[in-house]
């Protein structure tokens, strides 16, 4: 994923007037059908980028990255401002931006070098109640985009993290490959807004956000036998060719 545009302040500022969706390619058959339509020219690629109206009508055919359409982050931001001025936005409800599963959430958090906030609840209604407590903070200026959020059961949490946790909130740092996480703060279900805010603040400053070399990351993953199974087969021809070769073969 191209991060050079997406971390630029002018693009981040412009993004506040958008609903920013980042789907996980190959992790949902249902989403893949929509993404393939948006791509519009052949099989689904690893990355798809587009900008759409509020009714989800694409303003242009899907591209792999913003680079393909915009010469610079400033040009992208300018386009985004023009588009956002066209629509009169309304305020909406704050829902916690949940990744579909703990397994996927840990992976995504590792990809982003971000901590993960895990809502733990034995039943749907318990989880919904806890999610609502965290939702407003997750969209606040202080924390927007700085954590990955997942909602899960104690059983699944035990399976992934290797320890028992009762209903409540876990703030954790994923390992390098997103296969597990180390808990930084564990709060019960009666945690107050102040408790949650302090825990989130502590977690986001917990460790330096060093950038690891992509090449070394993949080599080490291969050496350790890491093997992520996608929900549906990969169809990007570039990725398939790379998989067919031995890694880093010259």
């Amino acid at each position: 994923m191209d991060r050079s545009f997406l971390s630029r302040p002018e693009v981040v500022k412009a993004s506040r007037d958008f609903i920013c969706i980042r789907a996980m390619t190959y992790e949902s058959a249902e989403e893949a059908k929509i993404l393939e339509k948006l791509w519009g020219h052949g099989k689904l690629q690893n990355t798809v980028f587009t900008i759409m109206s509020p009714e989800a009508k694409p303003l242009f055919r899907g591209r792999r990255t913003p680079h393909e359409l915009f010469r610079s982050p400033a040009q992208l931001a300018q386009y985004m401002y023009k588009v956002s001025r066209y629509y009169t936005s309304k305020s909406g409800s704050n829902e916690l931006p949940l990744v579909d599963s703990l397994r996927l959430g840990l992976n995504v958090a590792a990809c982003d070098h971000l901590p993960v906030a895990i809502v733990v609840g034995s039943t749907d209604s318990q989880r919904k109640e806890l999610e609502a407590k965290l939702a407003k903070l997750s969209w606040s200026d202080k924390f927007i985009g700085k954590l990955t959020y997942v909602s899960s059961t104690p059983k699944e949490v035990r399976k992934r993290l290797g320890k028992n946790y009762s209903n409540g909130f876990l703030f954790a740092m994923p390992d390098q490959f997103g296969t597990t996480a180390s808990v930084v703060t564990n709060l019960g279900s009666s945690a107050t807004d102040g408790d949650l805010e302090r825990a989130m603040q502590k977690t986001i400053t917990q460790r330096p956000q060093t950038s690891k070399s992509h090449h070394l990351h993949v080599m080490e993953g291969k050496r350790l036998g890491v093997n992520w199974q996608t929900a549906i087969p990969v169809t990007d021809p570039h990725a398939l060719r790379a998989r067919a070769r031995r890694p880093f073969q010259r």
Binding site: M1, P9, V12, D17, F18, I19, C20, I21, R22, A23, M24, T25, Y26, E27, E31, L35, N46, T47, V48, F49, T50, M52, P54, A56, M80, Y86, Y87, T88, S89, K90, S91, S93, E95, V99, D100, L104, N107, V108, A110, C111, I144, G145, K146, Q176, F177, T205, Q206, R207, P208, V218, G221, K222, V226, N227, W228, T230, V234, D236, R243, P247
Partner: protein, 62 residues
């Protein structure tokens, strides 16, 4: 001398992590369903990116 050097490096690392933590980021919604619903509700346009959270089968990297 060494102790001072260690303290200085630790302070620099702490500042770096605070700076990184304070850097603004895009607030992503991770599913199409939730995102499309929120766009309809708020009448905001959509900035959509899909990416694969693995490389050659290795998780933890886009």
């Amino acid at each position: 001398m060494l102790a001072r050097f260690i303290v200085l490096i630790s302070l620099l690392m702490l500042c770096a992590s605070e700076v990184k933590a304070n850097q603004e980021k895009i607030g992503w919604i991770p599913t199409l369903k939730q995102g499309f619903e929120k766009a309809k509700e708020t009448n905001k346009p959509i900035f959509l990116l899909s990416a694969a959270p693995q490389c050659l089968g290795i998780s933890g990297a886009w």
